[in-house]
């Protein structure tokens, strides 16, 4: 399937290939459990030096507060703290689910490749623009 200049397809693992879904699914799961335990215990969380010194939000500001809201089930509030990172967290949740299904079910894996060099550049520029737009939002909202 072709989508936004990318070739999306499902293929079986190469014989002897390291299973990326198993690897990154495990890392995500352990990280999620560690973050959950850390925040549930109320242990101290790191402060952003830029925010502390200047009062200006950095592109990742609002993550800890957003996570706190997520733990209490306030999805909308969490989203408003840092939309891009919350969407990424949601994506990580979906990835975990997908990884669990394909690893347990031994199913073909979803892969994508840029169809051209131009598509590859577009993806990179798109990521940079997303980060920039998210940062403008954080500065505007004074998160």
């Amino acid at each position: 399937m072709r989508f936004l200049g990318l070739d999306l397809y499902r293929r079986p693992l190469i014989p002897g290939e390291r299973d990326p879904e198993l690897l990154w699914g495990s890392v995500l799961l352990v990280s999620a459990l560690a973050v959950f335990a850390w925040m549930s215990l109320g242990l101290p969380t790191p402060l952003c030096p830029l925010h502390v010194v200047t009062g200006i939000a950095c592109p990742t500001c609002g993550l800890t507060r957003g996570l706190g809201c997520l733990l209490h089930g306030n999805l909308m509030e969490a989203f408003l703290f840092n939309p891009l990172l919350m969407v990424l967290l949601l994506g990580a949740g979906f990835y975990l689910l997908y990884a669990g299904v394909v690893v347990i079910g031994r199913l073909p894996r979803l892969r994508w490749e840029p169809l051209s060099r131009r598509a590859s550049v577009c993806v990179r520029v798109g990521v940079a623009l997303l980060v920039a737009a998210n940062w403008v939002y954080l500065l505007w909202k004074k998160v």
Partner: protein
């Protein structure tokens, strides 16, 4: 017609059009032992088996000669001599650690230039977790000893870093540190590799980035043994070794490697540096326009 995916040494080489695969077989880039897959196939099969079915049957002798040449070339490219840690069965456990630490810290360019590109994640991960956890334990014990030797000083100046509860917390963190180091190895390598991909510098697979990060960071962690400023030196030297490692192992320029490891920090907190530099430049420009530094008012002379 869908592209053909080619794999070698358990790794994908990418997807190619039929024409490219035909050319690749002819000029020796692809061999009959490479694995091939295209949409609709339930599993990967040797290219030598699939090529005739796709109308690419070439004279067998030519393919066999090329196969040998490419296999030898691939082996030479994939197998470097470093690090000594992966040769610990013949060198011995502790000598292999000391040799790896000294070669990474003292000769990073040569070490990472001849780093084995493949060989799995287990060896570098074990090295990383062993050294990092041990150095963390040494630092924690050093801190505990310091607080117990001067309890009154620490209780007055650092109330949170003294007392029995603090010692218990430190011991607890020593016990769980190996598990945390396992996760941190994957997360830091994953973020670095993602940044390399965004910068167009991920010429080799994730495994290569992972190996560089593990060997460089763990070797630099040994510098924590130096009193007072050891951890700071370790951070700086570790970053330097990672930059050199990525440059050599991924075959990219130094600035790209530097940007890849600083990008997450720049995104998060490095804006302080940008703002500071901008403020400094602004002041310099202003003072230039005013004809040098502003003159201070003359103080009246003391009677």
């Amino acid at each position: 017609m869908a592209n053909i995916h080619i794999a070698r040494n358990h790794q994908s080489l990418g997807s190619f059009s039929e024409e490219s695969v035909r050319d690749g077989i002819r000029d020796g880039r692809f061999t009959s032992s490479d694995l091939a897959w295209r949409e609709g196939m339930p599993e990967w099969k040797p290219l030598g088996e699939m090529a005739p079915q796709w109308g690419m049957d070439l004279p067998a002798p030519a393919l066999a000669v090329d196969e040998h040449a490419v296999a030898v070339k691939t082996e030479v490219m994939a197998e470097g001599a470093e690090p000594a840690w992966e040769d610990r069965e013949s060198l011995g456990f502790f000598p292999s650690i000391t040799r790896t630490v000294s070669s990474v810290l003292m000769r990073p360019t040569q070490t990472f230039a001849s780093l084995k590109q493949t060989g799995g994640l287990a060896n570098p991960l074990l090295y990383f977790v062993l050294l990092s956890s041990s150095m963390f334990a040494v630092s924690a014990l050093y801190q505990m000893a310091a607080t117990s030797l001067n309890p009154s000083v620490f209780a007055a100046k650092l109330p949170h870093a003294s007392g029995n509860a603090f010692s218990v917390a430190l011991l607890g963190s020593i016990l769980i540190s190996p598990a945390l180091y396992v996760v941190s190895a994957f997360i830091s390598s994953g973020i670095t590799h993602l940044c390399l991909k965004l910068l167009g510098g991920a010429n080799k697979p994730f495994e290569t980035t992972f190996r560089v990060i593990c060997y460089a960071q763990a070797s630099a962690a040994v510098l924590n043994l130096l009193p007072v400023c050891g951890s700071l030196i370790g951070i700086v030297w570790g970053a330097y070794c990672i930059i050199i490692g990525l440059k050599e192992a991924q075959g990219i320029s130094g600035w790209k490697a530097t940007l890849a490891i600083t990008l997450p920090g720049l995104l998060c907190c490095g804006m302080l540096l940008v703002l500071g530099t901008a403020a400094g430049l602004g002041i310099a420009e202003l003072s230039k326009e005013l004809g040098g530094l502003p003159h201070l008012p003359q103080l009246p002379k003391a009677p």
